[in-house]
């Protein structure tokens, strides 16, 4: 039977395809399944039910994973652990500022960020990780504490789905909030365009690293921000502050690119110095690159 109408799994990761899906959970499932189908049982990222070890049951563990056969033989409760399971916590800091509403193609940066956040949350849930979410702009817009309870994922996805471009950006607020509520060790994924001074950002990130958190910074940028192409002079209006500056094509072709590249390099250098990972994401590219970066990061820290 011909496979007419069935998209290639890789194709499902394209942002413009995902934009056609209205349900964020469906987006997350499509991305993760498509992504995993393409992994072909990697020793690092396997999600098969491949047994790795037994672990004594402790309070808080999911009782569904108790091996009742071992209990019958030994009268002790053990939990079967499988390859890929880390039993950690992932907190996603999603930037919903006005600048995230920018996009020159099929999706805006915020849409892409929502796809990425939903996918990460779904992926973490499949790995039995607790997932938390903080949506912010200048203030905290939404906050879901980490949990691996059944049904928690739906709450997280709904919170992601509700996010709309807000006002300005203040990264210090969500990090401060995170530090208030998350005392344990875990993973922190910050999804933003990072239009801020790298030193100020890292001033907030560095204490998290000191607390033992593993931080990954997903910097989402549109091609028009990376390599803008102006045909004639234009009055560019800041989406957050409303300030407007008239620029020439020649400036945007040369000087601006130098500055944005320098900013990205600086951000990456500062993140590395603070023990964080920095992943630059072009929002016209498929999500698998970002997921691959996340899994590599998780594997290294896990």
């Amino acid at each position: 039977m011909a496979s007419t109408g069935v998209a290639h799994p890789r194709h499902l990761l394209e942002p413009h395809v995902l934009a056609g899906l209205s349900n964020l959970e469906l987006v997350a499932r499509a991305v993760v399944n498509g992504f995993l189908t393409g992994l072909h049982r990697s020793p690092f990222f396997g999600f098969s039910q491949e047994f790795r070890e037994y672990k004594a049951y402790a309070e808080g563990d999911d009782p569904r994973f108790i091996d009742w056969n071992v209990y019958a033989r030994t009268d002790r409760t053990y939990i079967k652990r499988f390859l890929g399971e880390t039993n950690t916590r992932l907190v996603i800091l999603l930037d919903a500022s006005a600048s995230m509403g920018f996009g020159s193609g099929a999706v805006t940066k915020l849409q892409y960020a929502k796809f990425l956040a939903a996918t990460l949350a779904y992926l973490a849930t499949r790995q039995h990780d607790a997932v938390g979410l903080i949506v912010f702009d200048e203030d905290i817009v939404d906050h879901k504490k980490p949990s691996s309870r059944p049904g928690h994922l739906h709450g997280v996805l709904h919170a992601i789905d509700r996010a709309e471009p807000g006002t300005g950006t203040d990264l210090a607020r969500p990090i401060e909030r995170f530090r208030q509520f998350e005392k344990g060790r875990g993973l922190v994924a910050v999804i933003s365009d990072f239009y801020c001074e790298p030193e100020a950002l890292l001033a907030g990130v560095r204490p998290l690293a000191y607390q033992g958190h593993d931080v990954v910074l997903f910097q989402l940028l549109d091609p028009e921000e990376l390599k803008p192409e102006l045909r004639e002079s234009a009055l560019l209006e800041d989406m957050e502050s409303g300030a407007a500056i008239e620029v020439s094509p020649s400036f945007m072709r040369a000087r601006y690119r130098e500055k944005i590249d320098a900013h990205i390099s600086d951000l990456k250098r500062q993140a590395t110095g603070a023990g964080a990972d920095h992943v630059l994401v072009d929002i016209t590219h498929p999500l698998d690159e970002a997921l691959r970066s996340y899994l590599l990061f998780r594997h290294r820290r896990g």
Binding site: R231, E232, L236, E237, I245, V247, P249, S250
Partner: protein
Amino acid sequence: MSFLAPAFLAGLLAIGLPLWLHRLSAENPNRRPFSSVMFLEAGEPRRVLAKQLQYLLLLAFRIAVLVALVLAFIQPAIWRDPAAAAAGGQRLHVIVVDTSASMAAGDRWDEAVDTAIDLIDSVPAADQVQLIAAGRVFEIVSSATLDKATVRQQVRSLETGVFFVDFGQLTRALDGVLRTAELPAVLHFVTDAQAAGLPTRFADLSPTEPVEIVVHAVGADEPNWSVGSLFGSALTGELAATVTSHAAAAADRTLEIELNGNVVDRQRVTLEPGSEAVVEFAPLTLQSGANRVRVIMQPGDVLAADDARMLALNRPVPHPVLVVSGELGGTGDTRFLTEAMRVLEGLSLEVTAIGESELAEQEFSDYEFVVVADAAAIDGREADRLSRYVESGGGLLLALGPRSPMLSAVPVTGHAFASQATPLGGRAANAVTIGSIETSHPALAGLDTIRAARFMRYAAVEETAADEVLIRLETGDPLLIERGLGDGRLLLYASSLDRQWNDLPREPAFVPFVAGLADHLLGGAGFTNEAALGSTLALAAMGMSGGQIFGPDGESVLRLGGTDVLLDQIGFYELVGGGRTELVAVNFDGRESDLAPAPEQTLARWQGLGRAPEAVEGGSAVREEVLVPLGYWLLLLILAAAIMESGLGNWHLRVRRGLAA
């Protein structure tokens, strides 16, 4: 400043369009949202300011183009005092070179060219020069210029003409040129200053514009002899020539006659100083049709053009004419007419006079034209025959004789009578005379003397739109009417041809009057075959409705679709058309033969008529200002502004697209 067409000022409203477009463009910049302006440099506003300045400059150029365009339509001009330019010492030297026929005598022309070139060389570098050639009309060879080398070349390219120059008329014509001069003018005449060319009123030499006059006289009073006139009879071949001496000494000359290119006779004559001699020749044996007769005087002299004279003799063929009397039982009422026709030997008319009773026996086509002395003599049948005859190309002179009051309408023409009773009495005291004559008509040329005739009675006919009234009585009623009928000609005479109703037959003008009518009815067969140099010659005047005219050099001179030509060559013009050929001789203007220059005192008085502009400024005379149009400068301004607008607009686009540095 003067606006000649101020209504176009409304066009200035058009500058609102670029203003509106620029404002619209300024209010709607290419504005777009962007994530963050944190990487945009604060130095950009400087570029924006530069762009805005360029934009304003562009707007200014666009408005300038529109304003200049509107001004060009308004045709502005400024009033300028020509003398104002004199402050800088600049002058305009108008050099008028006489190209009349007498300038060809001896070495006058070479001397004139050398004089003109020397004159140009002597003009100060800052002064302008204008060259004018004076012949039959004056020709502006060059406009006022500082380029003296070109004017020198133009002087060398001038040639003498064949025409006579009247210095009075020339001065009047030059007034127009001098009136528009922007600089104080000096009028230079390079001429042989013929005394014959001076006007009758010496004041005619005075220009109305205040200019300085300098006469550069060339040539000397050289002896000249000319063939002044030539008379010949086309019937008998008799020929006589008048020879004139313009010399201070007696001289012997030989006159040689060429007939159609062959020398047929020679006569020797002794010419006393300043006298005329008439030389008669043996009768020529003319061939049928047109004959070329040329008299050549030998030996020649300094002016060769007047040593020969030409005459075209058209030997006439007999023209049969039918004269129908309206007198019952006799032809007394046409006696004056037939006698007049018989003495017109030049027309060679063969008159057949009949009574009205013999009319039915006549075949009209045997005659070139028919005269009916009393329209009442024609019955309806004969009127139809006459109508067909005229329509087929015949000629008819129809007179309204004493029996006209019996008619209800004029036969053939159908004219109605304004009043059946137009007796006007029989006494001379009640007679009327002629009110107006169309002397431009070939049949009536030079017939003003006919006004002496008195008309005791006439038939008042009502003229129609198809009529051309050639003679009108003082009462306003038509006396002689021409009406075209088919291919022929029809003349209606509203009185009698004898003495019953008028005394015209007793007047000396009667024979020329009859000759003119007969000549016209014959289609111009009796045309004098000599025309004046400079006049026009029309095919229609020769009775030709179409054809071609060849000049003395054999070239066709009639323009396509033209009907007349200017006679500007000496020799025989040949007219070909309608199955016949006519010759017209054009001769040298005798006024140019007398080479005697005006006396020195006269030339001094002539130059004294000039007034230097400076003198006028200081005097009480008010100098008229000249209106100088600015259209040319405005067009240059539009061109410059349009070019700059294009360049600036292109630069502006480069700036907008960030291509400019």
